[in-house]
Amino acid sequence: MTLPLGDLVAIIPELIVATVACLVLVLDPITPPSRTHWLAWLSVASLVACFGITVSRMDATVTAFSDLMILDPYAGYWKLLLYVVTALTILLSLAYLRVERIHLGEYYGLILLSLAGMMIMVSAADLLVIYLGTELMSLSLYVLAGFKRFEVRSLEASAKYFVLGSFSSGILLYGISLLFGVAGSTRLSAIAAAVGTHGLDDPALLFAMILLVVGFGFKIAVVPFHMWTPDVYEGSPTSVTAFMAVASKAASFAAFLRVFLEGLGGLREKWYALFLVICVATLILGNVVAIVQTNIKRMLAYSSIAHAGYALIGVVVAGQAAADNETRALGLSSVMLYLAMYAFMTFGAFAVVALLRKGGLEGEEIEDFTGLAKRQPLAALLMLVFMVSLAGIPPTAGFIGKLYVFMAAVNAGLTWLAVVAVLLTAVSAYYYLRVVMVMYMREPDPSAGLVSRLTTSPALTLVLASAFAGVILLGLFPDPLVSITTSAVLPFK
């Protein structure tokens, strides 16, 4: 048996990322420690190449490996987002890992392997391939979470992430095995056909669906499967936290949407109510528990749970049985838009946290930000912008993202859900703006010792500038991104 060349051509970006990941792992031992940053730049270069290839193929829909993989505009959109986030992570890590004294080459290899897993997830059209992609992503992230291996907190984060992550993969896999039993195949198209013939009340099908909801619920961190998030986000190195909060959530959302809209689309009147409950619970718990947090990484973890809740509003709209296809497509595109907006603002906030650590501040307790505006005006200003955007105040990206999600909900006749979400956004303003208040309204504590100046690096400047530009430009000119998401939605049958 030979592999058709066309299939390999179709997955060139995945091949590049996986090959460069292995290359980095091989080159690491023979690279002098003072030259480790070369590996980072090599990784970024490979991402730029992949970005170009994926952009040039955005409009085509190609299937490869007898329909195991599908390369459509939907997958292309998520891949572009993942490349940007991964490149920003690597640039942030360049500065941050040195401060933490864990600047090792294999870090970049693991980040790229994780990215390869995410890319496989977003373009998989088969449950086995989705499972393999998820595992490649997760296994790399378990190791990355424990990368500060001399710090007990980081090891703990790694251990907890591993236990709960593999637990959820096990549940997901059991669901997949049941779906295979029902459909006789793991292809999403075959499962969709089986849903049509078996009807909506097949108990095996419903049980499998619930197991998939649990499995994916852990990966996208929605209530009640969110328990791991605050611990893991707090303990992991900040650059890894940013990567997990943004990239792994985006990839999991992408695969989850494809499975539920394409594979289990016929069951949507069953899963719709389930997601509605999960969505409201996530919004309430994420926003309310974030109020009492004193550690900024923990606060951002609960904020990321809440943001998954906002994105789920779009999923609920896309799964509404009564709505017409146009409304459902609006729901799906609002999820895609929301996660792109979320990526820039959350990444920016974590980057500022990492930057302040560099400045000699411990920089993890919200109290450490006291009087930051006087000590580090620029860092405080950036944090202000990201917090304002996370709270959803115009003219930032966070506002536009929320606007589209709420608009989709209102269009689908879920006005009450939009009202609940808006009220909880007002709650969220409290904890985001508290950070701003601490930075701007309080005098710096003289005994805490003023940080003379931040030692910046070009890479770090680039990261902060990109996140800042993303948040402001997407807030002022969202139209290009909106048209991309609208043209990249999954086709509804």
Partner: protein
Amino acid sequence: MVPLSAYVAVSAVLFVTGLIGVLIRRNFIIVLMAIEIMLNAANVNLVAFSHYLESMTGQIVALFVIAIAAGEAAVGLAIIIVVFRGKISTNVDEINLLKW
């Protein structure tokens, strides 16, 4: 011939055993074993369905799952070793610096 329902029943028992094991056992290594049991429950299902449906797909998926389980065990044991070095304990309850 053993009916399909017998295999599915065994698989369900294994899955529930693994599920309960992860939730109630506190030793990290036992938790890892419970997770492996969950994966193998899925394997039993896959192979049984594969035989019953006369489709090879299930057996191939099971082979992939075995490989993944091996990778997972390797990463899990590596994490246990570094945690053990740092804390001299493999008890999940003592991994409690962060609020659970």
